[in-house]
């Protein structure tokens, strides 16, 4: 059957990344139709396979091979193949370099310096294959005194300055924050990979792209940062305040932890809101004409709005306010969104029918953008650890069955994590809030 070409047709990616950022980048490349080979080792499988964040395993069951059932792994590594390869073993390294010879892109997010330690830094890869592209989704960039420093999403939000402006008004809050750094970096990195492919097509040469996740995040508050050299202003967190619009905030609705966000951007929207609330006295109050005036008197106004919103169910109120031309949205929880008709109609969710025994059907979230003619769908469910050793070593590299078995005996490849890693897998899981297994 002849298939319509898709953007990544015929290209091969080696995904060395662990955790979120690099995996997101390689995942996008897989979504575009490239053959993405995720490389782990039995000694160091992706941590998301082992003690997956929040101990989240499919249907809340560990199964016989828990390392293949991590829910984050099932989402993050769809459209990828899996092989195991111990890169710290010289023979493993040689095999990796053979793969470099038949690949187009490598994605990694090791701590800076690890590639050198393994003897697979860009110079080495380029020597084997001048066309190879290396995408390093690093913490701090390729140089500088902090180049070897590590980070996670929380730390990047702190060290990039983003958290210093994403808090309650003039406070330091000790709470969890929305996660943006890793998926943002993965998305941008995949864009750079497409750029590097284009460049290779013109020049015949690969490129080593190194993204500094920290600097990338700072770039998303660029204008706030510029205010310092411009006016000496060190930006402070503003909570839900807008620099010149008001009212602008989050108001309680009926029910526990139930809220609506309302943003009034001009006097016309203010008029509509006052009418909706049946509070003509607010509309007629000269103190409340113009956004800046309302901002100055926000406490008084916010109190009145909250006394009104609390009487309503958040989604019904959202619909009613939107119908009257007032920007408003219920605060949706993620479970709300999984049931939401708007996202369903837009086919945001991928429904995966996984033929492996005990896996069944589950949802994976979409990608944040769509392509009209080459849609990105889940072609491949997430792979078992080492599932494609046979294909990659046998078919792609032409190794014999004996050679492959030899590698298994030496522990260079395999299908199961080593005992020391297995011992870290939890023996039991927290109880589900209610039965979760779907009956089809």
């Amino acid at each position: 059957m002849e298939e319509k070409p898709i953007p990544g047709s015929g290209l091969r990616v080696l995904d060395l990344s662990m955790f979120f950022a690099g995996a997101t980048c390689a995942g996008f490349l897989g979504d575009l139709g490239m053959e993405v080979i995720k490389i782990e080792s039995c000694q160091h499988p992706d941590p998301d396979r082992i003690v997956t964040q929040g101990l989240l395993y499919l249907h809340n069951e560990l199964g016989d091979e828990p390392w293949n059932r991590g829910m984050i792994h099932l989402r993050r590594h769809r459209n990828k193949l899996s092989i195991t390869l111990d890169l710290s073993n010289p023979q493993g390294r040689d095999i990796f370099l053979k793969l470099i010879g038949i690949s187009d892109i490598v994605v990694e997010n090791f701590r800076m310096g690890v590639l050198e330690k393994l003897g697979i830094e860009y110079g080495v890869l380029q020597h084997v294959n001048p066309r190879i592209i290396l995408i390093s989704v690093s913490s701090q960039g390729e140089d500088g005194p902090e180049r070897t420093y590590g980070s996670n999403a929380e730390i990047l939000a702190f060290t990039s300055g983003v958290r210093s402006v994403s808090d309650y008004e003039n406070e330091i809050g000790l709470f969890t924050a929305a996660n943006t750094p890793d998926p943002l970096a993965g998305t941008v990195a995949a864009g750079f990979a497409m750029g590097a492919l284009r460049h290779r097509r013109k020049t015949g040469k690969g490129t080593h792209v190194v993204i500094s996740q920290r600097e990338l995040l700072t770039s998303c508050i660029g204008e706030i940062v510029m205010d310092y050299p411009m006016n000496g202003r060190i930006a402070q967190p503003q909570g839900n305040l807008h620099p010149f619009h008001a009212p602008h905030g989050c108001y309680p609705c009926k029910g526990e932890d139930s809220w609506i966000a309302i943003a009034v951007r001009d006097d016309r929207e203010w008029e509509r809101l006052c009418q909706a609330m049946e509070m003509p006295e607010l509309l007629n109050d000269p103190r409340f004409i113009g956004g800046l005036n309302r901002r100055q008197h926000r406490e008084e106004i916010d109190k009145r709005i909250a006394s009104w919103t609390i009487r309503f169910e958040r989604k019904a109120l959202m619909e009613s306010l939107q119908k009257q031309g007032i920007p408003a949205s219920a605060l949706y929880s993620v479970p709300d969104l999984m049931e939401d008709e708007h996202l369903k109609a837009r086919e945001f969710w991928d429904r995966i029918d996984d033929p492996r025994p005990g896996y069944g059907t589950y949802l994976c979230k979409g990608r944040g953008f769509t392509l009209s003619k080459t849609p990105m769908k889940t072609r491949l469910r997430a792979p078992d650890l080492g599932e494609h050793n046979g294909y990659v070593y046998g078919k792609l590299l032409g190794m014999s069955q004996e050679e492959i078995e030899g590698l298994e005996k030496k522990g260079i490849i395999g299908r199961s994590p080593v005992p020391e890693v297995l011992s870290r897998i939890p023996k039991s899981l927290p109880k589900a809030q209610r039965a979760v297994k779907e009956e089809d």
């Binding site: 953007p7 929040g54 989240l56 499919l58 829910m71 960039g141 902090e146 980070s151 730390i155 702190f158 990039s160 983003v162 309650y168 000790l174 969890t176 943006t180 864009g191 750079f192 497409m194 284009r198 080593h208 500094s212 600097e215 990338l216 700072t218 770039s219 508050i221 204008e223 706030i224 510029m226 310092y228 050299p229 930006a235 839900n240 620099p243 905030g249 989050c250 809220w259 966000a261 943003a263 007032i326 920007p327 408003a328 949205s329 605060l331 949706y332 993620v334 479970p335 008709e341 996202l343 837009r346 949802l363 979409g366 990608r367 953008f369 769509t370 392509l371 009209s372 080459t374 979760v436």
Partner: protein, 390 residues
Amino acid sequence: MEFLSDVTVLELSENISASACAKMMAALGASVIKIEAPDRGDPARRMGPFPNDEPHPEKSGLFLYLNMGKKGLTLNLDTKEGKDIFRKLVAKSDILVEDLGPGRMEGLGLSFDKLEEAVPHLVFTSISPFGETGSFSRYKAEDIIIEAASGLMLQHGSPEREPIKLGGNIIYYRAGASAFMGSLAALFHAETTGEGQRVEVSIQESLLHDDFITVEAYLCRHEDVRRRLAPMLLPCRDGWFYIRAFTHEWPRLTQALGMPELEKDERFIDMKRRSEHAEELNTIVLSRFGDLGKKEVYDTLQKNRITAGYLANVEDLFDSEQYRSRGYFVTVDHPVAGPLTYPGAFATMGDIDWKHGRAPLFGEHNGEILCQGLGYSREDLVRLGQLGVI
């Protein structure tokens, strides 16, 4: 030669995100033509910060930053001649990126279907709060509304208080990144097959895509994970620092604390026990680090390969030796705003440079684009100006 040095991009932006997308393309060498309405210009021109807090349409920090390295054209798309010029520009372009809102381009008679007919290789990228289709698509929205509708806001803030949004315009930059990635994938495809396509970014979906574990927590255990308290930041002499003692880092942390005996201490033997005894552990950590400066704690921990951070404010970024040594901040001159300092390259690409240009003045390149590019005469320009087309 840069990644996109022979690519032409048209940008129509009134909501930051298309500008943020095209900004990355300009940095990679694309020739970006920013089209503004002659009567009002990009609203970013009216948003600050401004030098000395004096508003001026050519001095907006947001505008200058978002539009580094682009060319400026004014064009009234409500006029027939404006539309004609636009179509001629599209024919010479590879990518069109816009964030005017669902239905706006269709309303102007410049829908993807119509443009594609004439320019089959066109990549047409649209960014909107809720996507071009679906029951929310025409809802009125801005930053806080989209964050509320994406599930993000219920994750951010204290459980004892109202949820809060992210600062500044972060979500628009985030959506711009999705548009950047999608556009370049579509461009690569168009150059392979000659077939362009529509790239559609829903900001709501791009934020939901970023969710960490909430979708999975619900799927696996019907847990509804929301914002919660997390005593992550610890105070020190001049601010706050943060330690994430991963399992394999715990022995190194006990070394850094100068208390190797803690490694086998029953209270702290694994992540679970450490979080149960967080207060005791914090007291110990503070006794060692509480009197140091935040940057000093950060360096000490990181040099011992312990994942740690410090709460950096904007001033700290300019003090950062890391940023300074990499030349992250760049000073770029501008004919009206003068030399200003901007955040610059966040990536290196071997020997390929990141392009740092300045933002265009209002209509600065009308002559160049229309006369040299499309063959209009100087007289045409005067006439188009009088008619309010440019």
